[in-house]
Amino acid sequence: MWEKFEGDRNKNGIIVEDGRMIDITDPKWGHPDGRDFWDLDPKLNEGTAMLYSPSVPQEEKLAAGNARQASYMEQWWSTEHTCDVEKFEVPGCEEEPDTPVEVWVVKPKNLKKRKNRVLFYVVGGGLTGLNPNAYPIERMCEEHKCVGIVPIYRLSWQAQYPAAINDLHAAYKWMYNNADELGIHNDKVVISGSSTGGHLGLAAAFRLKRYGYSPRGIVVVSAQTDDREKDGDSLYTGMWDAVEQHDGLYNWLGRNFASNRVGPEALPNHATVEDCIGFPPTFMYQSEMDPDILQNVEFYTKLLKAHSFVEYHVYGGAHHSNGIWAVIKNCGEPNEYSTRASISFESNIEDCFKYDLRRPWVVEDYKAAFKKKFGE
């Protein structure tokens, strides 16, 4: 077995045979300006890894996960905020009506009197942790003069798929139906998030589409798009590597892991091109070493084929959690390199608000073509 998976790097009996993965431990693989956190001692990540490890009993996960969430929330509510943050309990969505969801409404001081833009922000964290302190939610709301809607969705150790998607759906529906009270414009919603926030944002957009909602755009970073490994990927191992992604999504999907029985509401690349018709304008920012980078590219091509407005930005010499994302997801110290990525990212969000980049005619044309081919 390859030495990375020996000793304290052993991941509970996981086998990695020679030649199956590329070891990127040496920071020589990274862009010189973004090598922060290139290789971390796996011990630092044990608190997260145990929450999705199949070897850890569920009661232990619940106890550890609840304690960790409690500390994140205590930190959030005891910190001084630059925006007003209010907590709501909102009704469950159509698919799980009896489960209410906690939703935060983040209001910066520079809002208009009414009909404000909305940043529907999905916090990331591998579906194992939801730490709002680690993401620049307030800064983004201030910068884009918008109301932040932050759903506190259930994590994989609390409830498996589709719980988190149901929670996002419920939050969106509530926000949409209470636009006037919230002082928002419900046709001006941009979904954003990073890592799991990106994954769930994209996946939930398929759910929202099924229910007739049409966000202005989706701007995500390091989104996971697929749980199904293919020959030729899982190339790298590093911070949030193929093994971690595998276990993280396995914990969320359970027996539905790596199955075609579940569609894009679980993982976006389960979509067919047809599923993608009418998908909102989408902007994806990914790292070369994201474990499912090839599936990300594939998902992008499906959006292209479905004629959505879509941009795909991939950064070479970057992995899931390194310095290129320092500004976008509070990942280390900002520098010129990370600022460059952030300017592009933020301008995509601004464009979604400023211009309507949706393409409703694609759906109409598709319907007409379908009728022509198969009749009424």
Partner: protein
């Protein structure tokens, strides 16, 4: 504490302990310690005198610590070989915790010509933005 170590077989580095701070990596959620307040660098051209056993090593370490500066001391004074050291700093600046655009080239009284030749070479071949060589003495 001031570390003294060989780098890539090219020479030795005198590296005072960096300031550190705890940061949070959001995805997956992990706490880690990172070096902070990057230092400036003196590329010290002596033709290889700064080695274990150099009589003023402790003095040099004390100077580095007091002035919060990293000494990078290549064994060679051939500009082409010193350029390898320069490129090492450029690519490892995060790990070294130095500001890669704050490099001063210095020499001893008897290596000043070599140090200036290094400056000229780095400006010509590596697009370095550095001042003329200065003499350094303890």
């Amino acid at each position: 504490m001031v570390e003294f170590y060989d780098y890539e077989g090219l020479g030795n580095i005198i590296d005072p302990e960096s300031d550190t701070k705890q940061v949070f990596i959001p995805s997956p959620p992990t706490m880690t310690t990172v070096k902070t307040n990057p230092r400036s660098t003196i590329l010290y051209i002596t033709g290889g005198r700064i080695v274990e056993g150099y009589e003023k090593l402790e003095e040099l370490k004390a100077y580095a610590e007091e002035n919060k500066v990293v000494f990078v001391c290549p064994s060679s004074k051939d500009p082409e070989e010193v350029a390898e050291t320069f490129n090492y700093i450029q690519s490892k600046y995060k790990v070294l915790n130095v500001k890669r655009d704050e490099i001063a080239v210095m020499g001893d009284a008897d290596t000043m010509d070599d140090a200036q030749a290094v400056v000229d070479y780095l400006v010509d071949e590596c697009d370095a933005d550095i001042d003329d060589a200065e003499e350094f003495s303890l």
